[in-house]
Symmetry: C2
Subunit: 336 residues, 2 copies
DNA sequence: GTGAAAGCGCTAACAG
DNA sequence: CTGTTAGCGCTTTCAC
């Protein structure tokens, strides 16, 4: 492959001049710029990122770590991150943890080997012990997206989780539901804890209580939500409404409803957090509390890029985005 | 950041010894291995991929280029590629073309800058002119997944497209349908051309003809399929069945059916290529011709890794995977 | 404006 | 088995 040296020889200039032309890092006469550009085209020269990164100490690589790219929520994150980063001259490395903390650490290690300039992290756990491991493995600007981790004082971009749960619970209670079950995500993940605690608070504000046996843990997993909802709905004291704290779990509940031939919202009302791309083709079109994930991702990348550029330490600042209640056809007044 | 030099000093050995330990590239006494590993741990040394790549001429990077990661079909590709590559000690760069040929070229350029060791490519076009551009931009082992490109003699892993269309058309005709519309993908993409031509053949084999005005072009786009299906279905001579040549287009047709309040399969039968992850929550559960995308992706990566290792030129060999007809609730005998 | 030269962190060849 | 050394391709002083 052609090197910068070949370009210099071909254009009849010095190596440093070629570099100056490529990077616009020093003034060069128009005539020379043209000669160099011609030479580059003629011999098909392409910069060698690794060499550049090695010498300059800047990889211009951003790592994006998500639980599972197969979840539409996270593939949107990946797509937006790619776009915004590319516009800023960075490339993205998107990797999946599969919700596994060890895998997360392995990926972090790879990101370090690649000397990424920054990290967007959707972590697998939020506890302090995990934060400590994270801090020992991360030495670049990082921003948390959606969830955050104790003792890891990076900036974070999240949904207003409290408001998200309130929106759903208030809606359900307003419809007259009193026996509501909550399908909850992974214990120890901030997203889940905040949503769940907000549910408890929302019930309390109505003088009601969210009983522990009405909280069905499902680890953010579609399958576990299905299993949990199946057991819940097959019992004779089934709830009149279900609130699922994430998109995949909402799908799991829908499947349970369907396989039990229970009508929704006739027999049971259902609402979830996270919107779906084509809700109208679902049976039934589901009411949700949507999060503005595109805007959140853009904000996360911008925040990260800022931090990389400014080289100032993060302060653990949290930016919250407002959720939106979207009413479709999956909830009805109780006893209808 | 610590370098290999620091490790050597700390362990009291030569740099080359450290390298030998890290890469297992030369025999080293157990005692020394331990000392080196301790030193690595103590000072938190992490290999510098860029330096290693520069020196060794091997980036251990694989580029995966897909149309849109937001499409579940392609996010599965990304996920499987990541997994298989990681097991083989490679990292993946997943990038989206957005079905845009210029963007594809831009990505290819970036991949070249990164000196990727190989490429999995789902290209935006299949014509010879595009093939020529591709050949001038690609200088590493490459395998096409799903589609292929004329004049670009790389190995390819695809579905048995002929059989896929036959499965769907034979099924529909067997149900008595005679007026069937086909929602087709992007003209000039091999996948689409092959599926479409196979449709024509399948009709002919039944002594029927697939009229051109029953082929609705929709560029593999959900929105265009929706628009096309809306016009098609609003007309008074609407077809009794629709065959959509990809998952997103199937969704578009479903939305059109729903917004016109047409019953499926009561008024119109619908079948598509590509399976959905939770068909039961769709309204109605859709019958499809599924492709074994996980196995296909694994095969593509293995083929690529083989080629990288063996350093022998690709021969343009095509491996085809069998499609499977999955009957659910979206097709009924005509006139029911 | 241009050119020479040092060196980023690493591998691999070679001499001990 | 260990140590020395020459670059991989590039950026970046610094002298001209």
């Amino acid at each position: 492959m052609a090197t910068i040296k070949d370009v210099a020889r071909r254009a009849g200039v010095a190596i440093s001049t070629v570099s100056a032309v490529i990077n616009r890092s020093a003034p060069v006469s128009d005539d020379v710029i043209l000669r160099v550009q011609d030479a580059i085209r003629e011999i098909g020269y392409v910069q060698h990122s690794a060499a550049k990164a090695l010498r300059s100490g800047n990889s211009r690589l951003i790592g994006v770590i998500v639980p599972d790219i197969t979840n539409p929520h996270f593939s949107t994150v990946a797509r937006v991150a790619e776009k915004v980063c590319m516009e800023a001259g960075y490339m993205t490395f998107v990797y999946n943890t599969g919700e596994d903390a060890d895998q997360e650490m392995r990926i972090l290690q790879m990101m370090r080997m690649q000397r990424v300039a920054g990290l967007i992290l959707i972590s697998t756990r939020s506890d302090a012990a995990h934060g400590a491991r994270l801090m020992s493995e991360i030495n670049v600007p990082t921003v948390f997206l959606g969830s955050y981790v104790e003792e890891a004082p990076f900036d974070m971009i999240t949904l207003d989780e409290d408001r998200a749960s309130h929106l759903a619970v208030d809606y359900l209670l307003g419809l007259g539901h009193r026996d509501v079950a909550v399908i909850s995500g992974r214990a120890g993940v901030s997203t889940n804890e905040e949503r769940l605690n907000a549910c408890r608070r929302a019930f309390a504000e109505h003088g009601l209580e969210l009983r522990d046996d009405r909280i069905i843990p499902a680890n953010f997993s579609q399958q576990q939500a299905y299993d949990g909802a199946l057991a819940l709905l097959a019992a004779k004291d089934r709830p009149t409404a279900i609130f699922a704290l994430s998109n995949m779990m909402t799908i799991g509940v829908m499947r349970a409803l369907l396989s039990l031939k229970l009508s929704c919202p006739g027999d049971v009302s259902l609402i979830g957090i996270d919107d779906f791309e084509w809700p109208e083709i679902m049976n039934p079109p589901i009411s949700v509390v949507a999060q503005p994930i595109v805007a959140m991702t853009e904000c996360a990348i911008r925040t990260l890029l800022d931090q990389i550029t400014s080289k100032k330490d993060p302060v653990g600042h949290r930016t919250m985005f407002p959720p939106e209640l979207i009413i479709r056809a999956s909830c009805a007044p109780v006893g209808r």
